[in-house]
Every structure is written in structure tokens, then in C-alpha cells.
């Protein structure tokens, strides 16, 4: 800091800001405010006509008194200690319990997800079933698409390795031996 500037500031501080107040102004300030507070009712009464024109419906604090009109339920103060029985200690939650809670939530979420997906797939199937109406099957049969031979099927599904999906002769024999042929014929009549 500039030393000369510092000297000026010191001088200003010593001489004060230059403002003055009446003698003993601060000493009697509290008394004045207190007096005016206590005498405000007298003041209002004395200046009633000039200060505030009072109407018929008007009233003063003295007329109201100090009753505020608030009530409490009967016996409220007798039971308050029971309601406020000391500070509520924070619950200690063991880590183990927390782990079990998270685990059970995870299991519940997995089950929900499983059934949710299952339901969604079912919904899709239902949609597909709705797409294939009986008359469409009838059209399909009428167009002789049922009567496709193995060559035609091979041509239509040329990207499928038939050997992989066809049963071996042994498997067909085993299957035919295991079922009741007569019943099969009856069912498909």
C-alpha cells in the first residue's frame, strides 16, 4: 500500500466519519422506544379522532384482549410425554439382512422377468394363431399345397439339410412298433 495513502486513512479514522448526533442520543434511545411502545395505546386513544378515523366496526387490541381463541384436544398435554418418548434411535440394519433383502428382491425380479417373457411369447403365439384362420387352411388345402411331394418340399426349403431333420429308418420302425396303428388310423379319419 502507498505509505502516504495509509497515513491519510489513519488520519481519517482518527478524526471520525464527520457525522454527529445530538448529545446523549444513543444513551436515551432505548428509553424512548420503550416509552413509545408502552404508551402507544394512550397515544392511539388520545389521537383517535385525528390519527385514525375509527369506524363503527373497528376495535382495538384492548377490546380483543390476549385470548387468541386456539384450543387443543382434551387431555392433549397429559399425553404428550408418551408421544415424545425420547429420541428415536436409528435402527441398525445388519449387512446380512440387507444382503438377504437384495437377494430376495433379485430372485423376485428374475421370476417376474421369466414369466413376463413367457407371457410375451404366448402373446405372440396367440397373435399367430389369430392370423391363421380356418378358411386360410381351407384355401391352402384347396390349392393342393398339402399334396406336395418330397421333391417339391426340397425345392421350397432348399436351405435346409433334409438329412438332419429326417428320421432314420430304424427310428421310424421303432416309432411304428411303439404305437397302436389302428388307433392312429381312427384318429386321423
Amino acid at each position: 500500500m502507498d505509505p502516504e495513502k495509509g497515513n491519510i486513512l489513519r488520519k481519517l479514522k482518527k478524526s471520525g466519519p464527520g457525522f454527529t448526533v445530538p448529545k446523549a442520543y444513543f444513551e436515551k434511545m432505548e428509553d424512548r422506544i420503550d416509552q413509545s411502545t408502552d404508551s402507544v395505546d394512550d397515544y392511539l386513544q388520545e389521537n383517535e379522532e385525528n390519527a385514525v378515523p375509527k369506524q363503527k366496526s373497528g376495535f382495538t387490541l384492548e377490546q380483543i384482549g390476549k385470548n387468541h381463541g386456539f384450543n387443543v384436544p382434551e387431555g392433549y398435554f397429559d399425553t404428550i410425554e408418551l408421544k415424545i418418548s425420547g429420541p428415536k434411535q436409528p435402527k441398525v440394519i445388519p449387512l446380512k439382512n440387507n444382503f438377504i433383502r437384495i437377494l430376495s428382491l433379485s430372485i423376485a425380479a428374475s421370476i417376474l422377468l421369466f414369466f413376463g417373457l413367457k407371457y410375451m411369447n404366448t402373446g405372440e403365439n396367440t397373435q399367430n394363431q389369430l392370423v391363421f384362420q380356418p378358411e386360410e387352411f381351407a384355401n391352402w388345402i384347396e390349392s393342393d399345397l398339402v399334396d406336395l411331394n418330397s421333391y417339391e418340399i426340397a425345392e421350397a426349403f432348399n436351405d435346409v439339410e433334409l438329412e438332419q431333420v429326417l428320421y432314420s429308418e430304424d427310428e421310424i420302425d421303432e416309432y411304428l412298433n411303439s404305437i397302436d396303428i389302428e388307433n392312429l388310423i381312427l384318429e386321423n379319419q
Binding site: E30, T37, Q55, I64, H68, I80, G86, P87
Partner: protein, 180 residues
């Protein structure tokens, strides 16, 4: 009445804490209740705030340094709790504090725990029209008849400023009531 210093000592001692806490609640419950009630007006809200106040007192009693009287400290906590509550409620309702207080006075008409007549209702309307600090000062001086020194301790405001504030509040209320 139990000496305040003794009570504070008992509150800080774990072996006597619970019993002294009950003494503390018994001693101050009514004064604090009415202090809060005149700010929030509604009994149920007052009850919640009073409980929170005592819980806070208990939680923080170890940090109480004794710079002020215990009841002043409790009054201060109750005041802060009430102001915070009102601000939160106003925020939740998306209205300002003034509107909230006006609505609270309006609700007194149907409040079973308010048996004041029309004049007392108008007094409450006049009080909530004041700036918040003046409301506090007016209620504490007019209804609770606290000394300015006690109020100074609670509100952390000089005695002179409190006297001026009360004077203005009272003048405004008188003017409102007289003109109604």
C-alpha cells in the same frame, strides 16, 4: 422447578438422560406448544413440530454450550422448525409464505380447535399481514409476554431493534383493526 444447570447435567448423563428428558418435556411443553401454534395456527402441524423440536433438543443436548438459557435455546429450535415447516409447506403447495398464512387463517373458520370469534379471527388476519419477523416479535411480546431480553436471546436481535419492531407491528395491527 429443577435448577437449569442440574437438568442440563442430567440430560448429558446417559444414566439420567431418559428421566430428565421427561422433566424437560413436562416443564416446557405448553410454552413451546403455544409459541409454535401461533406461528403455524393448526393443531396437528403444531403437534408434529413440537415433537420434532423435543427430538432435536435431545439429539443436540450434548452440543449445548450454555451460552444462553436452555429454554431460549429450545425456543430458537422451535422457531426454526416452525419456519422451515412453513417454507416447506409453501413450496409443496407451490405458493408463497404469505399466501400460505392467509389460507391458514381462512382455515381457522372451520377448525374445531379454534373457538375465537370474528374479532379474534381478524386479529390473526392482521398478524399474518405483517413481515414474518414482526409476526414473531408481536406474538412473543403480546401473547407470551416475554421480556425483551429473553426475546433478544431467542431471536438473536438487539433489545432496541425488538422494541422498535414490536412498536411498528402493534401500530400496524391497531390501524388494520380500527379500519375494519
Amino acid at each position: 422447578m429443577l435448577d437449569e444447570e442440574v437438568l442440563i447435567g442430567q440430560l448429558k448423563d446417559p444414566s439420567t438422560r431418559d428421566a430428565s428428558y421427561r422433566t424437560l418435556v413436562s416443564t416446557h411443553k405448553e410454552r413451546l406448544y403455544w409459541h409454535i401454534r401461533k406461528m403455524v395456527l393448526n393443531h396437528e402441524d403444531t403437534d408434529d413440530i413440537l415433537q420434532n423440536t423435543f427430538i432435536k433438543v435431545f439429539k443436540h443436548i450434548d452440543g449445548f454450550k450454555g451460552d444462553s438459557k436452555l429454554y431460549s435455546w429450545m425456543y430458537r429450535i422451535a422457531t426454526n422448525e416452525s419456519i422451515n415447516f412453513l417454507n416447506k409447506k409453501a413450496n409443496q403447495m407451490n405458493i408463497d409464505l404469505q399466501t400460505l398464512q392467509e389460507q391458514s387463517v381462512e382455515n381457522l373458520k372451520a377448525d374445531v380447535y379454534f373457538d375465537g370469534d370474528e374479532i379474534q379471527l381478524k386479529l390473526q388476519q392482521a398478524i399474518v399481514s405483517l413481515p414474518h419477523k414482526q409476526q414473531l416479535v408481536f406474538n412473543m411480546r403480546y401473547f407470551d409476554e416475554l421480556k425483551y431480553e429473553e426475546m433478544s436471546d431467542i431471536l438473536d436481535t438487539s433489545v432496541g431493534a425488538l422494541k422498535a419492531s414490536y412498536h411498528h407491528a402493534r401500530k400496524k395491527i391497531e390501524a388494520i383493526l380500527v379500519n375494519q
